[in-house]
Amino acid sequence: MSFWGYPRPDGSAGARNYVGVISTVTCANDVAQWIAEKVPGCAPFTHQQGCGQTKPDMETVHRTLISLGCNPNLAAVVLVSLGCEGSADHIVDGIAASGKPVAKVAIQELGGVGAAFAEGLRLARQMAEDASRINPQEVDDSQLMIGVKCGASDTTSGLGANPSIGAACDMLIARGGSCIFGETPEIMGAEHILATRAVSPEVGHKILEIVDRMERRALAMGVDMRGANPSRGNIAAGLTSIEEKSLGAIVKGGTTPIKGVCEYGERPQGKGLFILDGPGQEPKAVTGLAAAGAQVILFSTGIGAPQGFPFVPVIKVTANPQTYQRLSEHMDLYVDIAAQADHLQLGRALFDETLAVASGKRTKAELLGYGNFPDIWVTGTTF
């Protein structure tokens, strides 16, 4: 099995061929957005971070921006910097290590947002022209990494959509590819099961540690986490506790051994199944998967989330028949639990769709142009 991917200098292959226009700090967002809007073939990444934060959060932001720039779906990157945040050169160097073209425009150095916009346009147009010369090639599916996420879950997510996505993950991993899933709060209550599937005691310990860290954040707030996760919508749809939600959520990664645990913004080393530390909240969770290097995201939803991402196609899968009918505008695939089809068969259909999307088929979120307000997850406050 294979897909049509865009070859990159580091040997990876993109499912898309965008020029990424990435802001290094929230103050540069408008200029990044303007450039991406004006140049066909560009995709923006803007966020609310990058200044007034302590060292651990700043390191997370920088690591995430470098990893996003290295995602194979980007042919080249224009970084838009304010200047005084001081991180742009470090991020340029990090992305340049992948071998792809990267350039910086800094608003304060160039003499204002107008000048930065003009210079950014010039660079982005040249990069988009160069990128348009890259032809897709037939690439072995072992080059693929699927990011897996569930959002706006209900009880059908754990019964139908997640196990089917899990079966698709097992198929890709059997063929030498990689999958990554996370949402640490949605491992809580099921971490003991995942820990027994770790390839080593160290990895098992890390799984327990990220869940413990996340639970301690909830405990420090002095409140019941229920209401935040599971959310009000989850509860109205029948999910009673985080344990129930987690037990239904962890099956979305399939059944293979867990090779490693990545910090948010890190990229997995090697092939197979990985866990990503991070939140369940969608705009930040999906960013983490894109930063990990996923070229395609399989996203299960019960109640019906519209989520997309600027440069990674997000395939929406639901097992809720009402959602599939009512929100057909955002739903890519339906999994029928009541018809008793087995998850392997359903997983095969999802796997085929994933390869089709990796080869260029547009997802509903792409066709709607939805998902242009992502963010980066940090754990500290802003000062």
């Binding site: 009880t155 209550g189 405990l219 002095g222 019941d224 009673t240 506790s241 344990e243 009541a338």
Partner: protein
Amino acid sequence: MQKKAILIDKKDNVATALCELNKGDSIDVGIEDHAVTTVLSQDIPFGHKYALKDIGQGEAVVKYGEAIGLATQAIRQGEHVHIHNVESQKGRGDKR
């Protein structure tokens, strides 16, 4: 034949509705040779759970073969099982 509800693991003491279920309905669920028939004492909305057997106060509510929380009151067979009678054991900053 479309299933009206689903049982996931033989150890479970709850099942999940796959359509709107009504008080008085008699619902069959099963896995292999393990079959359970329950007469519902309350309406159960789509996606919500009902008790397959009596669950005592403080006992674990089990789904996927694992505890999803503890019963905060006695739950009778056929009753709706949700946040009104189950509490989570995780992320409980309010219980410190």
